[in-house]
């Protein structure tokens, strides 16, 4: 399991399945993603994309299957486990606490401490620096998330995933769904920077144009299964759409 440059996959999934009662949301999903690449995952509604992402981020425990991070087998029983293993996620619902301010949201579940107490000053300073580095426009990090626009919230949620220095893999679920043209471009820029800094990015999106622009490889999901990933340079939109609808099989 290594790519053209001989690098080892940072995250692999083999034969993952997830049943909810008698419903199989995920049948046999395989996936591998390498450092410094963006893997796009596309598929119709109900194809199992979000279930796969929830398995990767520790929200769902798979019914069956095997997962490795940096070569070591992992079993996640909570989102905290996935985070510790270096997997950072931007959920489709963003997972922000609206009544709390931006700085607090950026550090949810991981507040910096100084002695027994939360180091509020450091949190505000680093949050401000992070947003400045990512060119995020907000008045200040004390602004409650409730007063931000949908696009701004999306960017804050992404900033949080990017913040984790220890993250090897960043998972993004429909990151551009609520965004305007300019904001979409901004998210694309952040994704490109993540790849350039050597992180692996898994990008789930309906936005075919966005996926073709930013992904290195594209993997199609259909009926809870994954097809072989295709290099963006070796496929076409027509081929991907045919795979999504089932008109073509790999």
């Amino acid at each position: 399991m290594s790519d053209a440059q001989g690098r080892a996959a940072v995250l692999t999934v083999e034969g993952a399945s997830k049943h909810f009662g008698s419903v199989a949301a995920l049948r046999a999903a395989d996936l591998e993603v390498f450092p410094g690449e963006v893997l796009g995952i596309v598929g119709d509604n109900g194809a199992g994309k979000s279930t796969l992402l929830k398995v990767l981020s520790g929200i769902h425990t798979p019914t069956d299957g095997r997962m490795t991070v940096a070569g070591a087998e992992v079993h996640f029983s909570s989102p905290a486990d996935a985070r510790r293993a270096g997997i950072s996620t931007v959920q489709q619902d963003l997972a922000l606490v609206e009544v709390l301010d931006i700085a607090t949201n950026l550090y949810l579940g991981d507040f910096p401490k100084r002695g027994l107490l939360v180091d509020r000053k450091r949190m505000e300073r680093e949050a401000t620096e992070l947003l400045r580095r990512l060119n995020v426009r907000v008045s200040s990090v004390l602004t409650p998330v409730a007063s931000l626009s949908g696009g701004q919230r999306q960017i804050i949620a992404i900033s949080r995933a990017v913040r984790l220095e220890s993250a090897r893999v960043v998972l993004l679920d429909e990151p551009t769904a609520a965004l305007g043209v300019q904001e979409t471009a901004h998210v694309g820029e952040i994704i490109d920077n993540l790849r350039d800094s050597g992180k692996a990015v898994v990008l789930i999106s309906h936005d075919m144009e966005f996926v073709f622009e930013h992904a290195d490889r594209i993997q199609v999901m259909r009926l809870g299964k994954t097809a072989r990933a295709l290099r963006v340079s070796e496929t076409s939109r027509d081929e991907i759409i045919a795979l999504i609808t089932g008109a073509k099989q790999l």
């Binding site: 609206e98 949810l108 426009r137 200040s140």
Partner: protein, 338 residues
């Protein structure tokens, strides 16, 4: 930003300024409450100057501190989006448990700790029922309220426990710098709870769980662990309030606590601006809520207004406080949509 109403668009986030912090403070319910208490106090003082005498003010504080102590834990529970009806029973259980132990050969400090431990266990059981059996907090803790109320009467045969050891009575009755020790205890407990809520990871987690449970969990915060600590500490501090009350009155009273403590504590928390919708609240607000409650009761009594009126006024203030909270939420939502 305070003088400039046009939104400033700039790259990156602006540094946090003093103005930002002042604005945040002025928006808070505590500021409104201080105003209401002052205005009310001035009116009563005009009607009867006895109100503003130091001895009356100390009486007022002494009457309210045990409720405030019980309300400290409840504040955290409500900020986390939960509810605890059983604080009044934990109060009684702490009082009866501790005084029974100290009248049966256990040294009073150990007996007091025993009473606190009983409250802790009650809270822990609450959290297990809420998280494992998935019973809503209001039902769980209401059931616990009745269960303990019945158990305490059964255990004591309805008789108060006394006399209590001299050391224990002194613990609740003395003064320090002219101020009753009970008030000092309440201030210390209030400061500890304020720090826990505003400055510790646990406090941040409590706000996150109350503000958006799914988001908190997706970011690695454990709901079960947070709830276990919340309800256990809430039960323990309510029991401690009951024990302090016993020390002040010199007996373990079966009728102390119960629905009076529960309702007063809940009112103090909600009048203090802690939101039933979760995520928002403060110990300072609860202290002011308890103080307003006590000021109204004491002030109207001093102004010779019948007690029924003070209940009506407190009822109205409670509804107004929650309406204000609800209005604030709607307004911020509207601002968002426009």
């Amino acid at each position: 930003m305070t003088t400039d109403s046009t939104p400033v668009i700039e790259d990156g986030a602006r540094n946090v300024t003093l103005g930002d912090r002042v604005q945040e403070i002025l928006k808070r319910q505590e500021v409104t409450l201080v105003g209401v208490i002052l205005v009310f106090g001035i009116i009563i003082t005009v009607l009867n100057p006895v109100f503003a005498t130091p001895s009356n003010i100390l009486d007022l504080f002494r009457a309210t501190v045990v409720y405030f102590v019980a309300a400290c834990g409840l504040t955290l529970v409500v900020v986390a989006g939960g509810f605890d009806f059983s604080v009044g029973s934990a109060f009684t259980l702490g009082a009866i448990g501790a005084t029974w132990l100290m009248t049966h050969g256990v040294p009073w400090p150990v007996a007091a700790l025993g009473g606190v431990a009983l409250g802790f266990v009650v809270g822990l059981i609450n959290s297990v029922i809420i998280d494992r059996l998935r019973v809503p907090p209001i039902i769980t803790t209401l059931g616990m309220f009745y269960f303990i109320a019945g158990a305490v009467v059964l255990f004591t045969g309805g008789r108060d426990i006394q006399p209590l050891p001299d050391g224990f009575n002194a613990f609740g009755k003395g003064t320090l710098l002219g101020i009753p020790v009970l008030i000092w205890y309440a201030v210390a407990i209030g400061i500890i709870f304020h720090i826990v809520l505003q400055h510790t990871r646990f406090g941040y987690n409590v706000k996150a769980v109350g503000g958006n449970l799914d988001a908190a969990v997706a970011n690695g915060i454990s709901r079960v662990r947070t709830n276990a600590w919340l309800y256990a500490v809430g039960g323990a501090i309510a029991a401690l309030a009951g024990i302090l009350y016993s020390a002040r009155t010199g007996s373990g009273q079966v009728s102390a606590g119960g629905s009076t403590v529960t309702l007063t504590a809940i009112s103090a928390v909600l009048i203090g601006g802690t939101s039933l919708f979760g995520g928002v609240g403060s110990i300072a607000g609860t202290a002011l809520g308890a103080l307003l409650f006590a000021t109204i009761q004491n002030g109207l009594a001093i102004a010779s207004v019948p007690a029924q009126y003070s209940n009506m006024i407190i009822g109205a203030i409670l509804v107004i406080a929650v309406a204000v909270d609800s209005y604030r939420r709607r307004r911020s939502l509207l601002k968002l949509l426009s």
